[in-house]
């Protein structure tokens, strides 16, 4: 790890009296792939919601390239460089695949409302460029054949991939993937992981991955953070994690529980 892209310190949030996440630390380097695992209800998605501004933390700090992020709204988080996918797919169902991706370019596009209505030179230039970039991205995800289709009509696996493409299109420095392989068959999962690896190399992007498929997490992640009841219980390489008694305890239960 050379320099950290994302740095999280003492992050915590309480809902009423319940501390859903407490004292969460994380550092992710450039194009590093870190796994975030833990039993159901451990607080993984809550951490994603904190990192993307959906929830405001009650304590702690988030830095992206050294810039403090706490207090920003979700769309400002995206502009700063944090993008995500959702556990339950949230596509723009009635828009085409291409449009889904192009929505993510919006915050970088410049032409004004008037320009759009009058169809000025800027409109044509930016729209054409956006389309070209969107098609490029779809090609990386092997989805260019679907460009014209309405997102709702895509097969399940493709929908998951489109969410990733859409998140990538925001120009993010770090991608938060919430169970991207959920519901996929082994072939689809393998293809997805290949795609994620390609993305990391091509776009030099860091990835934080929530995943339940252990073999998958163990095989692709460089580092894994394990949480339970909102606390970090272990951090380390896949090998270390696999042999950590605390982790085994959290998943299987220990004798004293």
């Amino acid at each position: 790890m050379t320099e950290s892209v994302l740095k999280v310190e003492h992050l915590g949030i309480a809902f009423g009296g319940l501390k859903a996440v407490e004292d969460f630390h994380l550092e992710i380097g450039k194009s590093e792939l870190v796994g975030l695992i833990g039993p159901n209800g451990a607080g993984k998605t809550t951490i994603f919601n904190l990192l993307t501004g959906v929830y405001q933390p009650t304590e702690g700090a988030i830095y992206l390239d050294g810039v403090p992020m706490v207090g920003k709204k979700p769309h400002q988080m995206v502009a700063a460089g944090i993008a995500r996918t959702f556990q339950n797919i949230r596509l723009f169902k009635e828009l085409t695949v291409l449009e889904n991706v192009m929505v993510s370019f919006n915050h970088t596009m410049k032409y004004s409302i008037l320009s759009g209505i009058l169809r000025t030179k800027n409109y044509w230039k930016e729209e054409a460029a956006a389309q070209r970039r969107a098609l490029d991205l779809l090609r990386v995800m092997h989805m260019e054949d679907y460009a014209d289709q309405v997102a709702a009509n895509l097969p399940y696996g493709q929908q998951r991939k489109l969410e990733i493409a859409r998140a990538l299109a925001t120009g993010a420095k770090i991608l938060l993937l919430d169970e991207p392989a959920a519901g996929m068959n082994p072939t689809e999962t393998t293809q997805l992981m290949d795609a994620i690896q390609t993305i990391r190399e091509k776009f030099q992007i860091s990835v934080l991955l929530i995943e339940h498929d252990m073999s998958l997490v163990m095989s692709v992640c460089e580092r894994i953070v394990v949480i339970d009841y909102g606390h970090i219980i272990a951090t380390g390489t896949p090998f270390e994690i696999a042999n950590n008694p605390k982790v085994i305890g959290a998943y299987l239960g220990t004798d004293d529980q």
């Binding site: 998605t45 919601n49 959906v54 959702f86």
Partner: protein, 298 residues
């Protein structure tokens, strides 16, 4: 002292109108709670109830039974109307976009109003006396028997409704369907029957409100339901739509606000004040006074 008497009279007025609003609001709220539909036709059920009472009073008198029994006939007619409306117009749209159902409800409202106009003409008809109007005087504060009957009858209806919803099996089924329609079907609840009964009760309450309203303001016309319905609907939203005690609370709040505004500020501005309060409440607490805030899970 005089000012105080006027004030008390306005409060009594407000409670009287408020209890009518509350009865109507209950219909809105129960229906919304169970099918998530703003039943715009509900106000017109009041109007239908009023016409049914209007025409049944002479018959009842001829048969030698007390005129106030027209409530029973109106109640039955409205309950039937509510169930039929739901079955014919709303049921096919349960899975359609919300706005489609909303427009259908508006269309049903227009249909009822215009049918009645066609049948009974648009001019107002006087409503016969069904309750003897005797005036009581309590330390300078005057109120009449109709006020008393209205308030008492409304409170009794609300208590009965609350008991029904909390204690009976059907009441539990209603709460279950409004909580989660899909799951309640899996639990063996017949959601169609439950929804029909909800419409029947809600519309029946509108019939009671109709007789009470017409006793206080003895005129019947095809449009009488629309503003009354709108106010009651606001009451339901104010209290927290879908919540039964909320509808009652909202009804009384709107009744009091309206009555006091008319007395002390301006009768023209009463509507604006009512809407203003609605807006403020919604902005401060979007789900109404008694509503629970439910954020969407990400």
């Amino acid at each position: 002292m005089d000012g105080f008497v006027i004030f008390i009279n306005q409060i009594i007025n407000g409670i009287q109108v408020g209890s009518i609003y509350a009865l109507v609001a209950l219909g809105y709220t129960m229906v919304y709670g169970i099918v998530k539909l703003i039943n715009f036709a509900h106000g017109d059920f009041i109007m239908v109830g009023a016409y049914v009472s209007l025409f049944s009073v002479p018959l009842l008198v001829r048969m030698g039974v007390p005129a106030w029994l027209c409530i029973v006939l109106a109640l039955a007619a409205c309950a039937l109307l509510g169930v039929v409306t739901e079955r014919v117009a709303y049921k096919p749209l349960r899975n359609a976009p919300r706005i489609t159902a909303l427009i259908t409800a508006i269309a049903v409202s227009l249909l009822l109003e215009n049918l009645c106009m066609l049948l009974f003409s648009s001019s107002s008809k006087p409503f016969p006396t069904v309750f003897n109007k005797s005036i009581f005087n309590l330390g300078g504060v005057q109120f009449n028997s109709i006020t008393l009957i209205t308030i008492v009858l409304s409170v009794i209806s609300m208590i009965l409704l609350q008991l029904f919803v909390k204690k009976t099996k059907m009441g539990k089924a209603m709460r279950a369907v409004s909580e989660d329609g899909g799951a309640s079907i899996l639990m063996g609840i017949n959601s169609n029957t439950t929804i029909s009964i909800t419409f029947a009760i809600g519309s029946g309450l509108a019939a009671i409100a109709a007789v009470m309203y017409c006793s206080a303001y003895p005129q019947v016309n095809p449009y009488m339901g629309s503003m009354l319905g709108l106010k009651a609907f606001i009451a339901a939203v104010l209290g927290g739509i879908g919540i039964i005690p909320g509808a009652m609370l909202g009804g009384f709040v709107i009744g009091l606000v309206e009555s006091l505004t008319k007395a002390y500020i301006s009768s023209q501005l009463a509507d604006a004040v009512v809407f203003g309060i609605l807006i403020i409440v919604l902005l401060v607490k979007p789900t109404g006074i008694l509503g629970k805030n439910i954020g969407e899970k990400v």
